[in-house]
């Protein structure tokens, strides 16, 4: 908790050490430890109520920490009020000041901190140009579109030249089309700040498309931290495996264990076909198929199993099918706890 100069550990990024937040008897964030390097984008991913927003609020200083330490630029900021943390935050609702123009929304904070008028003007011009907001200077938030409001919210965060960038589901109020277009743009912009970025989202596509690394949270606890590829191919448990990927992973019941198989790793054959060596197979009935243009998702009902989803290029030819997979590509999970079991090799090495 001490914030003295001497405890500088030299790490320039953000570091959470055993961070916890408890309210009454409820643990919102549980012993969370992770680091985000300067210039790195970390996505915090999880379903609603998993503690991702609570984590962001702890880092911003909006909620008190129950235990643990938050370090930024090598020193503890746990005890500092939000104003002194040099963080910028983009809220899900954008939280633009509705009674102020775009220009004033950006400049008010600087003004009140006593920044020189000429400098404010210079920064304002620069950020407004960068975010393509010059034409909207005098507009009130109510007169802006959703995308424009988001740009204003980002601009307000950028103009502060923060030491840490926090974003709380900044895309959730935009329509899907705009979201896809903005992802790459936002990634470039966030990278250019050169500071650690923590990006909270419940959307796996957003996390995979934007972030360098992803932290998956569940009930306040970190499930896994790694690149999108690691999380997808080598998930730590069933929760992570199911949360990433669409269509989601197939779970095949096998007594006390479950086999996890991505839909693209399953192959279809006519029922009764010979199973090659090193492969396993189940037989079942075609339930229905979804045509996606370049791919087809085939739903197959096998006895004693949940409907299996198979992603393939061709639609199945018959009604009774064989679903098969390479044994080495299956992930093994404990059926009760959902923990990953040893013995399941990297599913993509053949």
């Amino acid at each position: 908790m001490s914030g003295s100069i001497s405890d500088d550990d030299g790490f320039k990024g953000l570091e959470l050490r055993q961070l916890s937040r408890r309210v009454d008897n409820h643990t919102l964030v549980d012993q969370l430890s992770l680091t985000v390097a300067a210039g790195e984008i970390l996505a915090v991913l999880g379903p609603s109520g998993c503690g991702k927003s609570s984590t962001l609020r702890l880092i911003a200083g909006l909620d008190p920490v129950s235990s643990g330490d938050i370090r930024l630029g090598g020193r503890s900021i746990t005890a500092l009020p939000p104003a002194e943390r040099q963080v910028a935050m983009v809220f899900q609702s954008y939280a633009l000041f509705p009674h102020l123009s775009v220009e004033r929304n950006l400049s008010l904070g600087l003004e009140l901190r006593g920044v020189d008028k000429a400098e404010i003007k210079r920064e304002l011009d620069q950020v407004l140009t960068l975010m393509q907001l010059e034409g909207l200077r005098q507009r009130k938030p109510a007169e802006l579109s959703g995308g424009q409001r988001q740009r204003v919210a980002l601009a307000r965060a950028l103009i502060r030249r923060p030491a840490l960038f926090l974003l709380d589901e900044p895309m959730s109020n935009l329509d899907a089309q705009l979201r896809d277009n903005l992802r790459a743009e936002l990634r470039t912009l966030l990278r250019s700040t050169g500071v650690p970025v923590v990006y909270v989202t419940h959307d796996q596509h957003e996390a995979m498309g934007l972030a360098d690394r992803i932290a998956v949270l569940r009930e306040g606890r970190l499930q896994q931290l790694g690149s999108a590829e690691t999380l997808y191919r080598d998930p730590a448990n069933r929760f992570v495996a199911r949360f990433l990927g669409s269509p989601s992973i197939n779970l095949i019941e096998r007594g006390a264990t479950q086999l996890g198989l991505r839909p693209e790793l399953l192959e279809l054959a006519d029922a009764g076909s010979a199973v090659p060596a090193g492969w396993e197979a189940l037989e079942g009935q075609l339930s229905h198929s979804e045509w996606l243009g370049d791919r087809v998702i085939t739903h197959v009902q096998c006895p004693g199993q949940a409907t299996l989803k198979v992603l393939s290029r061709e639609a199945p030819a018959s009604e009774t099918l064989q679903v098969r997979w390479r044994k080495s590509q299956a992930l093994h999970f404990d059926a009760r706890s959902g923990e990953r079991l040893p013995g399941s090799s990297d599913p993509h090495t053949v």
């Binding site: 911003a60 200083g61 909006l62 939000p82 104003a83 002194e84 963080v87 910028a88 935050m89 809220f91 899900q92 609702s93 954008y94 939280a95 633009l96 000041f97 509705p98 009674h99 008010l108 904070g109 009140l112 901190r113 009130k140 938030p141 109510a142 007169e143 802006l144 959703g146 409001r149 307000r156 502060r160 109020n173």
Partner: protein, 263 residues
């Protein structure tokens, strides 16, 4: 048509007062006498003290009551709206109970207070009981308005580095303007119309507020009721209120918070 009837219904009494105030006294008591007159207004404005004195007194009392009420109610409402749910609920219940307390029961106590603290015949002192009586309702109104401001707005300001006063001054109060305007108007109206306390606390003629002053308007003899003068006093007394309403109308109606959140 329905609208016209509604308009007539609500404006009728006021128009009748205006009409009565401009007719000679004889015409009002049924004697057939035509014509219009400003006699009632002349009488009032040239009285001793002139009617204007009462108007000014009422404005002074109304203004100071409103200022005092808001100065206390805004911080209280802010605190209540930011407290934990459990504490806020019990405190709000207390405030609501105070709002529901029958003020009549306080008159004797207030009179004692005025005597002990030498508050009688002091115009501004009236704002103490007035603010006291208006405070609960004003707190409840403002608390609801504070609760309507999304917490994220204040948090955004907090992260921007604004202190409490800066947040209030630049973010919260501007957004509260409609609620503050309507609470101010309510307090002002209350103090403008208040009669029993003003009657008992003020005795010197030149200090009277409108309500007790109007009650003192007398006819030429004990047996004549000065309808015309009453009507003229009513018209003069309500004119400032109507003016105030028109001035603040836009403030009260305008929905400033729209667009704060997605929408």
């Amino acid at each position: 048509m329905a609208r016209l009837l509604l308009l007539l219904w609500s404006l009728g009494p006021m128009l009748w007062q205006l009409y009565s105030s401009l007719r000679p006294s004889e015409a009002l008591s049924g004697v057939d006498a035509g014509g219009w007159t400003l006699e009632h207004y002349r009488q009032l404005l040239q009285g001793d003290p002139p009617f204007l004195t009462y108007l000014i007194n009422s404005v002074v009392v109304g203004g100071s009551s409103t200022a005092l009420t808001l100065a206390l109610a805004v911080p209280c409402a802010y605190a209540l709206s930011r407290l934990g749910r459990r504490q806020a609920r019990s405190l709000t219940a207390l405030v609501a109970a105070a709002a529901a307390f029958p003020a009549v029961l306080l008159f004797l106590a207030l009179l004692e207070l005025a005597r002990d603290w030498h508050l009688a015949n002091q115009l501004m002192a009236l704002s103490l009981p007035y603010a006291g009586l208006c405070l609960p309702l004003a707190i409840l109104l403002l608390q609801a308005a504070f609760a309507d401001i999304p917490m994220e707005l204040e948090e955004a300001a907090l992260i921007e580095g604004m202190g409490l006063w800066q947040r209030l001054r630049w973010i919260l109060l501007p957004l509260m303007a409609p609620a503050i305007a309507s609470s101010a108007l309510l307090v002002f109206l209350f103090s403008w119309n208040e009669y029993p306390i003003a009657l008992t606390w003020l005795s010197r003629t030149e200090l009277l507020t409108l309500a007790p002053a109007m009650a003192r308007i007398a006819g030429s003899s004990v047996y004549t009721i000065p309808y015309g003068a009453f009507a003229a006093a009513t018209v003069l007394g309500s004119a400032p209120l109507i003016l105030l309403m028109l001035l603040f109308q836009r403030q009260i109606i305008s929905g400033l918070t729209q667009g704060a959140i997605k929408g």
